[in-house]
């Protein structure tokens, strides 16, 4: 009986609300159609664009990340206890990275902190190395090479990246292994009589990481340098400038947004790389992402893994922002 009254009231309410809602819809519709974005792209395309971006940002980026942030402040509990009285917020996971186990002899968790700082430090070095390697190539492609030559160079750069990451990493193992190509050459030339263990010294890893993100450095640099009027270079040259000064005073200031964008991308990706460290890393050294990986998949401690991952992410962002500040690059410029 109650059900019928409920249905009756619902229908009545709907009838009362409908004309009002109709009017509101008209007004809303009017307001929507006046928005420039909608006028320019049409209703269908605008809806698609807004929805697609919204779904991408909210459902694929923000929500899962928030979920992980939440995770990082929880205890690692068996499924039965989740949501129970033991499921409280905690900073233990972050504390662990800094101080390790409570009854440890050492004050700080040096094992993980060292790995963390090494990861950040090496990422900086790899980024600098990539910039040093790519800047001359990008400059050559953008300002010196003509037509066919430039295209050929771009192809030569792109095609090796069709080979997948794992395969490339293993190729570097073959290059740098104790009985690998480089050692064979060195022994052949008589420079050394037994193979040098490049992999144990992490040389293979650094080379692999440097190589892996070269394209992400070259293309932003190329785009930025390409838009520089060649006459400016000639004008500087004509006024007596050395090549070094031309690059420092004319080309690099112009290419600053591209340099920032390339360096940011390479730094973030190197700091967050997993495959190359897994394959090329020496047996006694770990990349911070490998520690995170271990928490998730070996330790089965997701809250701890999330906390580590977030420390890495936050540090990377803060680091990038401060470097950009030092070099006076505005955030909007790197999207140019």
């Amino acid at each position: 009986m109650n059900d019928y009254i409920g249905i009756f009231l619902a229908v009545l309410l709907a009838l009362l609300v409908a004309p009002h809602a109709q009017r509101r819809a008209d007004v809303t519709w009017d307001a929507v159609s006046r928005i420039k974005f909608v006028q320019r792209n049409g209703v269908a395309l605008s809806t698609y664009l807004i929805l697609a971006v919204l779904i991408w940002v909210v459902f694929m980026i923000i929500l899962p990340q928030l979920y992980m942030v939440n995770f990082s402040f929880r205890h690692n509990l068996p499924l039965a206890d989740v949501g129970g009285p033991k499921d409280t917020l905690t900073l233990d996971n972050y504390r662990y990275l800094l101080f390790g186990r409570e009854n440890d002899e050492e004050l700080l968790n040096w094992l993980h902190l060292k790995i963390f700082f090494k990861t950040i430090g090496v990422s900086v070095l790899v980024t600098i190395a990539d910039f040093a390697i790519c800047y001359p190539i990008a400059y050559y492609m953008a300002q010196v090479a003509r037509g066919g030559g430039a295209r050929l160079l771009v192809l030569c750069l792109i095609i090796p990246f069709w080979v997948n990451e794992i395969l490339r990493a293993f190729a570097f193992r073959i290059l740098f292994g104790t009985s690998g190509v480089i050692n064979a050459v060195l022994i052949g030339l008589g420079i050394t009589d037994q193979g040098i263990d490049f992999l144990r010294a992490d040389v293979g890893l650094y080379a692999g990481l440097t190589y892996a993100y070269i394209l992400l450095m070259i293309f932003p640099l190329y785009n930025a340098i390409e838009s520089l009027d060649h006459n400016q270079i000639e004008a500087a040259r004509d006024l007596g400038s050395s090549w070094l000064r031309i690059h420092r005073r004319v080309v690099m200031p112009h290419a600053k947004p591209g340099i920032a964008s390339g360096c940011t991308m390479v730094f973030m990706l190197v700091a967050g790389a997993l495959a190359a460290p897994q394959i090329l890393g020496g047996p006694s050294s770990l990349w911070f992402t490998q520690v995170i990986y271990q928490w998730f998949f070996t330790g089965l401690n997701w809250p701890q893994g999330s906390a580590y991952a977030f420390v890495l992410l936050a540090t990377s962002i803060v680091f990038v922002m401060s470097v950009m500040r030092v070099f006076k690059v505005r955030f909007g410029e790197i999207a140019k």
Binding site: R237, D238, L239, G240, R249
Partner: protein, 363 residues
Amino acid sequence: MSADVELDHVTIRFGDFTAVDDANLRIEEGEFFSFLGPSGCGKTTILRAISGFLDPTEGEVRIGGRNMFGIGPNKRPTALIFQNLALFPLMSVADNIAFGLEVRGVSKYERRKRADELLSLTALTGQGDKLVSALSGGQRQRVAIARALAVEPEVLLLDEPLSALDLKLRQHMRTELRAIQRRVGITFIYITHDQGEALTMSDRIAVMSQGVIQQISTGADIYDNPATPFVASFVGENNPFFGSITNVDDDYAVIDTRFGALRGRNDGGLRPGNEAVLFIRPESLTLADDAGDRENTIESIVLNEAFEGAVRHIYFRGENGKNITLSVTHDGTARSFAEGDTARIAFPPARAVVLPRGPLADE
């Protein structure tokens, strides 16, 4: 300090293409010298060879008597002003001007002092701290000049620097450039396709076509005594009459054209039977009202008139669909014509030149 520039049989080739063919000339110290020609005639190539961005395939470029082969643009006593000016957009006006001094290791204080001097020379006082983008077209022009003068070049090279300006400003900048050149006293080498610029500013002009220097002389001489049909038709307006020489006497030649026998100066020593072309300027043509059978009189049909203010152009039907242009001063004495009227026009032989047949400049 100023220096002379010599091109000693300079030829510049790009693969099979000859951009400059045996250019041989000497530009005096402190001279305002222009290279005038249509685009693609090789004038910019010559400029790049003088400034050091390329070296000649054959021959020598000498500045102040010194062979410049293999000396880069940063080591030559020249400064170049680019067509698009190529100012540095991320630097202040003063930093732009002082860039050449910065390169030479001049102290910051000295640089600023010199920049301020040059700013006042170019009437830009107080604009030093602005960005280039905040200046007007004419001001940017002057910044470019100041930047080039800052390095105290012995030769200043200018690659059509006025072409981006509007007409009024362009005319103003001509006077200004000439005045700056007189004040600093260095050699100016000016590249342009605009004969007005070349004629108003230059001490001497080299007219170029297809990599070949056609004539080197003062503006008035080039205008009055063109050396080739190209020069005659490229510099100023000119009416060509084609034909062959029938008679030669003293300094004059008679050429048989579709409009009858016409007489003009024969400076090139043409012989009877030579294919030739007679040029007469629109302002040297007069309307011959009397019906008498005078020398150098042409009868033709009026096509239309164009009123330009100080002058009025009357267009007559010429050869092969080309017009004959007659210009009269608009002083109220010349009568008006309607389309289709027949009129007689005449010119004095001393104002007409007869040249050997050759290519004309395309309109």
